[in-house]
């Protein structure tokens, strides 16, 4: 399979503290890549470096065969980022939020109207398009957060813990939509603390700790690292075995 994203010796240091340490990962086109790790493992920093929100201290990122830094403006248009924190304006209606963020990618006029309706329909909010975002429930806000990032039809979607603090119905809806997008050819990078979610939707999973990838592979491959009989162990047990049970207070 073709590689869509590659990190080469990606490193991020804050002072003397190394948050991401010589990270080398390859994301294949059309896969759902899960990134797991305890708090402070460096997952969000890695995501932020890929999205150009945080600048790497060392190393580089290759996206669609091009150096990210050198072709940033072109490549950012092919990227969709769903941040962990809700990034929507409460004082705007649902469609206005989608319009605002989709228009940033140069989409306008009829094409923009179509993109707004498609995005809201995709997350099941089309009928609530004229409601203010501040009046939405937690799950609806999360869905709107997703709609704001997909209007420009990105090739790579990055989800940073998109199901935090929402009800099971909304979570199930979001996971189904991620699978649906993937089937249509969108590559997905997904981080979460919910192991069953990652196991359910990800084709490959990387476990990160102390800024490094300590294990990578399919769910089965990861389980085999710990026990031979993969049916007797859950992904969470693999995770705890590999990262330890010590509390991570950052």
């Amino acid at each position: 399979m073709e590689t869509i994203l590659r990190t080469i010796d990606l490193t991020k240091k804050y002072g003397s503290k190394v948050v991401v340490d010589n990270l080398n990962i390859e994301i294949k086109k059309g896969e759902v890549f899960g990134l797991l790790g305890p708090n402070g493992a460096g997952k969000s920093t890695t995501m932020n470096m890929i999205c150009d929100i945080v600048r790497p201290t060392l190393g580089s990122i290759e996206f669609m065969g091009m150096d990210f830094r050198k072709n940033k403006s072109e490549l950012l248009r092919k990227l969709g980022y769903i941040p962990q924190d809700l990034a929507i304006h409460g004082n705007l209606k649902a469609w206005e939020n989608v319009e605002l963020f989709t228009s940033l990618y140069g989409i306008k006029g009829e094409e923009l109207k179509k993109a707004i309706n498609e995005s809201l329909d995709y997350v099941g909010l089309l009928e609530r398009k004229n409601d203010y975002a501040k009046n939405f429930s937690g799950g609806m806000k999360r869905r709107l957060n997703i709609a704001c990032a997909i209007g420009h039809h990105p090739d790579l979607l990055i989800f940073d813990e998109p199901t935090v603090g929402i009800d099971p119905q909304s979570r199930s809806f979001i996971l189904d939509k991620i699978k649906e997008s993937n089937k249509k050819g969108t590559t997905v990078i997904y981080t979460s603390h919910y192991m069953e979610e990652v196991e359910a939707i990800c084709t490959r999973i990387a476990i990160m700790d102390n800024g490094k990838i300590i294990a990578i592979g399919t769910s089965e491959e990861l389980k085999k690292l710990v026990v031979d009989n993969t049916e007797s162990i859950t992904l969470e047990e693999v995770f705890l075995t590999l990262t330890g049970k010590k509390l991570r207070d950052y």
Binding site: I53, V54, L76, Y81, A87, H89, F101, S103, L104
Partner: protein, 357 residues
């Protein structure tokens, strides 16, 4: 592309109704209070440099006729009325009559008494008498009638306090544009919208331009509504509407640019509001927002530092004279601020983006 940003920024700001209402009502309320409190202040001043009454008494028997002739001559050459009093206390006359100044002619000297708030009239009469008597001493003749040319530019033309405060507080509150922008800026900060802007690849200049234009439009709309309301309900008049609108338009842009610059530098809305309010208060203080600039004790060299002074003078003079020597500076000064502050804002945002952790 940025038209959608501008449109939605305007919606966010206009939906923060508290800010917008404050912005529309504050100038009206403050000017209404000041108009009623200081209505007599400007009335006392206006027109009194044109015509006023001077009382006098003559103790000397010898020269009394020539002094009367001199004063009659001075009176006929100006709008000053000279009224003679006999053996009355000058201070009593000043306090009990409309006399602005009183001259007590002795044997070889004269003494001028001036009523409070009529210092300028006192100076005028002092100058007239001084020139007349100096020419008499120099020529060894009878005192000659002196013509004193009063430099009118040093005095304000008559202006109604309603118009003065109505205009001055539109200018003052227009400089507080950051109040209107706070709804947008706090929403962007609270929801970390900045990250979405970053990953969209939109350049800092376009982002700044969208914010600058949307804030300016909202502030200008608010100020226009406030000006219309104060014209309707308080009876405030404006001079040349087109030129006045141009001055207000540019000052609103300068105000927006100033606020956004401090926000770009500090990245803190609270700090920005404190800094901007402090600066605007100082500029207003030396520029005539609190102390009527005609009576201000602040030296002219300090007053010209404040763009508010240029705008106040230009707008007031456009109203009362139809022209103003301050028109050009009232346009160019804020325009320079727009360019300077915008440049610093974009540079500060770019530096922050480059130096981000």
């Amino acid at each position: 592309m940025i038209r959608y940003l501008i449109k939605n920024n305007i919606k966010i700001m206009s939906r923060s109704m508290v800010n917008v209402l404050c912005f529309i009502l504050c100038p009206m309320i403050v000017s209404a209070v000041l108009i009623s409190a200081f209505s007599s202040l400007l009335n006392k001043y206006e027109g009194s440099t044109e015509s006023f009454i001077v009382g006098y008494s003559i103790k000397s028997k010898d020269g009394s006729e020539s002094i009367r002739q001199l004063l009659n001559g001075l009176g006929s050459n100006s709008d000053i009325t000279f009224a003679e009093y006999q053996n009355e206390d000058p201070e009593t006359i000043l306090s009990n009559s409309e006399v602005a100044s009183f001259v007590e002619f002795g044997e070889n000297d004269y003494k001028i008494y001036v009523k409070d708030d009529f210092e300028i009239q006192g100076k005028i009469i002092e100058g007239m008498l001084s020139v007349s008597f100096n020419s008499m001493i120099a020529n060894g003749t009878e005192p000659q009638t002196a013509e004193i040319t009063v430099n009118k530019a040093d005095f304000i033309p008559p202006v109604d306090s309603t118009d003065y405060y109505g205009i001055i507080y539109i200018v003052y509150f227009a400089w507080c544009a950051i109040v209107c922008a706070s709804g947008l800026l706090s929403s962007e900060k609270k929801y970390r919208i900045d990250n979405r802007f970053r990953i969209s690849g939109i350049c800092e200049f376009k982002l700044y331009l969208a914010k600058f234009l949307s804030v300016s439009i909202v502030v200008l709309s608010g100020i226009t509504v406030s000006a219309l309301f104060s014209a309707l309900f308080l009876g405030v008049h404006w001079g040349n509407i087109l030129l006045s609108a141009l001055i207000v338009f540019i000052l609103v842009m300068a105000s927006t640019a100033l606020g956004l610059m401090f926000y770009s530098i500090t990245n803190s809305l609270v700090l920005t509001v404190i800094i901007v309010f402090a600066i605007v208060w100082i500029l207003g203080f030396i520029g005539g927002s609190f102390e009527v600039y005609m009576f201000s004790s602040t030296p002219e060299s300090v007053r010209v530092i404040s763009p508010i002074y240029h705008e106040n003078r230009a707008l007031i003079e456009l109203l009362v004279q139809g022209k103003s020597d301050y028109l050009l500076s009232a346009i160019l000064y804020p325009l320079a601020l727009v360019i300077g502050c915008s440049g610093i804002s974009v540079a500060a945002n770019q530096l922050r983006r480059r130096g981000r952790k």
